[in-house]
């Protein structure tokens, strides 16, 4: 089992903030917009250093998406910032028409995604955003796993021309991606080689998958772990190469099983290599208030749930 060291727990949103700070210093075309959530998005340093390149739009997300689309006309690279819920469902048609269909180079950066937003409850915990965004033609969808990877992803999407949805979260989680690892959009990362089962995870569930793989190894089960940070475009080849070897798969994500990573993987497998699959995801439900750990446990989104899913899928091989 490949060993990964937690360099110290940090929130992925702070990785985004760190990425924005660096972009502020290195890319004069990058501009930021925020809908009254500067503190939550961790972009104060960017604002302090580049006040003329920051637009506070107030509690008006629809307007923010339109202004971002307009800013691209003239060569700017706008990064919008608000919670995932208000970055997607609230402004779907604005994104669809003014950004996606209009081929605008807007980076929609969404914090507090998923159930780990915690105590605020279901009104703020979106579990449908990956589905909403991946259905838009031309939209790239990225869900990095830790602080370092979120920072690297933030830098990478500035170099990519086209609309991007970048999803990250609120809680402090293990930070294990090498600090200098370059982020390649659409390129899956093989974190651990195994032979019995493939665990394909995204976002906060990647670290949980590594814990699960270690526990499974102690039970004599060899699990391959793949970090799919880019859900669209999906790295079909990495998935198929692994599954052809292991013969079964568990997908893991902090998202509804409808519309998420798991369904994207299923589509690839159904078309090219039908394979037994289990889904670690929320089961078509809203969330609720609670601590992130309590919620991940209750809704089956942790290493224990992944281990159970592996044992289940192995029986179906």
């Amino acid at each position: 089992m490949t060993k990964y060291i937690d360099q110290g727990k940090q929130d992925t949103r702070s990785g985004f903030g760190a990425g924005m700070t660096e972009l502020g210093r290195t890319n004069p075309n990058v501009v930021a917009l925020c809908a009254d959530l500067v503190g939550s998005l961790k972009i104060q340093t960017f604002i302090d250093e580049n006040p003329e390149r920051f637009f506070q739009v107030g509690i008006a997300e629809a307007n923010m998406m339109g202004i971002a689309a307009g800013l691209t006309i003239g060569g700017k690279i706008p990064f919008t910032g608000t919670f995932a819920n208000f970055s997607t469902g609230r402004v779907y048609d604005q994104i669809r028409q003014s950004i996606a269909y209009s081929d605008k180079n807007v980076k929609i950066c969404a914090s507090h995604a998923g159930i780990t937003l915690g105590e605020d409850g279901a009104t703020h915990q979106i579990l449908e955003d990956i589905g909403l965004m991946k259905m838009l033609p031309g939209m790239t969808v990225i869900n990095p796993c830790d602080f370092n990877q979120t920072k690297a992803a933030t830098l990478a999407i500035a170099e990519h021309h086209g609309p991007v949805y970048l999803r990250f979260g609120r809680p402090k989680v293990a930070n294990f991606t090498p600090v200098d690892q370059k982020f390649e959009i659409g390129k899956a990362l093989l974190l651990n080689e195994g032979t019995d089962v493939t665990i394909i995870a995204t976002g906060h569930l990647v670290w949980q998958s590594l814990i699960a793989a270690e526990n499974l190894e102690n039970q004599g089960i060899s699990a391959e772990v793949i970090n799919i940070h880019t859900i669209k475009p999906l790295d079909d080849k990495a998935i198929l190469d692994s599954v052809k070897k292991t013969g079964c798969v568990v997908t893991a994500e902090e998202h509804n099983f409808l519309g998420g990573l798991g369904e994207s993987v299923s589509r690839v497998l159904a078309s090219h290599h039908p394979t037994p699959q289990e889904f670690v995801a929320t089961q078509d439900t809203f969330g609720e208030s609670g601590t992130p750990d309590q919620l991940m446990d209750k809704y089956g989104l942790n290493n224990k749930a992944i281990e159970s899913a592996v044992l289940k899928v192995l029986k179906r091989k």
Binding site: G66, I67, A68, G70, I73, G75, S98, S102, D103, K104
Partner: protein, 310 residues
Amino acid sequence: MGKVFYKLISSYLFSPTNAVTFDTIKNHTMANTQEQQDIVVQVRRDILRMVHKVNSGHPGGSLGCTEFFVALYHEIMDIKNGFDMDGKNEDLFFLSNGHISPVFYSVLARKGYFPVEELNTFRLINSRLQGHPTTHEGLPGGRVASGSLGQGMSVAIGAALAKKLNGDNHLVFSLHGDGELQEGQNWEAIMYAAGNNVDNLIATIDLNGQQIDGATKDVLPLGDVAEKFRVFGWDVLEIDNGNDLTQVITGLTEAKGRTGKGKPVCIVMTTMMGNGVDFMMHTHAWHGKAPSDEQLETALAQNPETLGDY
């Protein structure tokens, strides 16, 4: 015939825009009024023929805004030769009420952005002239998709902010339907533009009092549109007759003079939906309906060919 006129219009595109002051306009329009009025009539014919051919589209609002579009593209805006998406160092226009695409397409074509013959493809499969404007098919002249209402002002504000960041002193113009103001996003944008001194933006409201289901006063009353913009902090001027070309040019010129003074500028422009075709006026019936063969004949007879049909 069409090719000849395309060349003629192309050469017109590259002539310098000289409308800079109110006084210049008064003298200028004396010389150019007839030429521009000829374009207006030809654009009306284009609109009618486009929607008739595919038995769909929105002639009413298009006809109501014909003078505005001709004034904007043939008099008011400082536009570069050719088209690029970034539109640096030129004035920009955003059509928010995208359903009046017929007038937009006709004026763009007559201005030389693309061949007028292409108007023949409006709403047909594999066309760049989609029912509502898009950038997706690469049609020169448009910079954002519109049709789902209420989004254009936000986009125009973004483009205006980019101009400020780029040190580009050119202006951003936008057009919005009055019924469209029922969409809440407009009021977010109206509040933003005033609160952030977006004073290189001229947003025009087409006050024709009509929408699909009837008169705006019956569907959802808009109240005093000009006063609403004023209390939100805009500099507002009104054009009483948006179908009088001279009034439109004068109003737009006056609006240009009010930019750069800390406030976004709004023109509340009263128009007649269906203007120039007697049976299409004074009703909302032609908002989204094409004329029959006989109706087309009647409408065209009221607008004799000037520059040549496509």
